[in-house]
Amino acid sequence: MNSILSDGVIHVSDRCKACDHCTSICPTGAIHGRLGQKHSIKTAKCINCGQCLVNCPFGAINDQSMVSAIQAALTDPNKFVVVQEAPAVRVALGEEFGQEPGYNAKGKMYAALRKLGFDQVYDTEFTADLTIMEEGTELIHRVFKAVGQAGFEEAGPLPQFTSCCPAWIKYAEDNYPKVLPNLSSAKSPQQMFGAVAKTYVAEKLGVNPANIFSVSVMPCTAKKYECSRPEMIASGYQDVDAVITTRELAQMIKDAGIDFVNLPDEQADKLVGTSTGAATIFGVTGGVMEAALRTAYEILSGQTLDKVDFKPLRGLKPVREATVEIPIQALGGKVLPVKVAIVTGTKHVAPVIEDVLAGRSKYHFIEVMNCPGGCINGGGQPIRRDIYTEGGLL
């Protein structure tokens, strides 16, 4: 686990053909090597996003595996193994079994995890909902502070940035330490889940948290780094013990000889397995913002929001903005135009941060996801070789 902190998650293998495509993909310039020269990754600059990995035409880039630790836990009778899965996993896992992208594999995913031997099959979407409660309330406090409402002096500055994406967090820490007070202090749903599993779940189920092994299935390679961060020990233990990608889960399912496409649909276990549609869209760019606005609107206005789709927030454009008018009950119904921005692709975030640091930013809330399109296109997702084979290359 410590090797991930010192050596990073992403490594270039000997199969590197020195084509230099990855250096044009990398958002931080972390890949060392020129055309015709075998490439390597500078760990200090790498944000572990894995975009180079999923885009390498030769499959020459790998991410560090934690599968063996998980298999050991699954066969250890003393371990109580719980699992969570990110929203983006369920719409891509099917691709590894011949289904179209976007195929809803949710029910089969739960069933397959039970067959693999996990003791409790929960869902990261539960803690995505929890993130909205905490991060949304934090945003409301920052807004109240900014409009001079008494009692919110302790709140942080505006705009507030989202904090779900571990690649974005490391990018900000490495390059813009001055913007860190603007980041929501809310942990990502993965890490909230880890902390909840070894406290609340342990208490409710009467399991010794020392025996809980907490696994996370993610569309993301940076999540492996995130779970290894030394401060992620709020439960008194390492909160999330191991992370596997969508690809690695598919491989485990295949290795176990499970007939995935013919599995009956199952449900997640109760307690921390129920979720809402707001949590589901966390996996796509603009989704965290949309989920936050659905809740913030109702809490701030005291009114029911009938039209829950915020269509202007959607799309694949790297930087998008919108204004949502919210009547604030606490201010006598005064309408506050809440200005939001969404950035997808770390390459596009620097000008947005520069505006914030220069005091020019007009936004209240900014969502940042490292991968173009959001987690659905994460570095842990199935690799779409067909975009190359279509050109007759591989």
């Binding site: 020195a18 084509c19 230099d20 495509h21 044009s24 993909i25 015709g36 929203p87 983006a88 992208p101 976007g102 195929y103 809803n104 909902d129 929890l130 409660m133 905490e134 309330t137 934090e138 820490e173 330490p177 860190l180 202090s185 809310a186 942990k187 909230m192 902390a195 406290t199 609340y200 208490e203 030394p230 401060e231 709020a234 008194g236 109760k270 307690l271 921390v272 129920t274 979720s275 809402t276 707001a278 949590a279 589901t280 869209i281 796509v284 659905r294 809740t295 109702e298 809490i299 959607r314 694949l316 399109g373 959001g374 659905i376 296109n377 975009i387 190359y388 050109g391 007759g392 290359l393």
Partner: protein, 120 residues
């Protein structure tokens, strides 16, 4: 990418053929990448399909707002803020929030040695 295709008068398939050939030659691929062409754009189609998958799942859910999740109400009432639904309590701050950059060593110390008034 759309403007590029129009300018050169190529179909999508021809365009991919061209890209494939360029890829086989490492030299040309590198040059191409340096010119600013982005294969990422070619993946927009499957990204859009995965996104559509999540949006249709959202639409199929009975509950579509986080604060209406009954298990969320339960974890606050039973555990995070006993008896009520109240985010940002001391317990939430400890379990669900974090700090960044230079503040991390102090956070680790606090987590390893919980304060006397808020013992784990």
């Amino acid at each position: 990418m759309t403007s590029f295709v129009e300018k050169e008068g190529m179909t999508r398939r021809q365009f991919f053929k061209g890209t494939g050939i360029l890829f086989v030659s490492a030299v040309l691929t590198g040059v191409f990448a340096k010119m600013g062409f982005d294969v990422q754009a070619a993946s927009d189609e499957y990204i859009a399909k995965r996104a559509a998958g999540l949006y249709s799942l959202d639409e199929s859910m009975t509950l579509r707002k986080s604060h209406l999740n009954p298990e969320i109400a339960q974890i606050y009432k039973d555990f995070l803020s006993p008896g009520e639904v109240k985010p940002l309590t001391a317990k939430s701050e400890r379990l669900l929030h974090t700090r960044y950059g230079s503040e991390i060593p102090a956070l680790i110390e606090e987590l390893k040695h919980p304060a006397e008034n808020e013992a784990a």
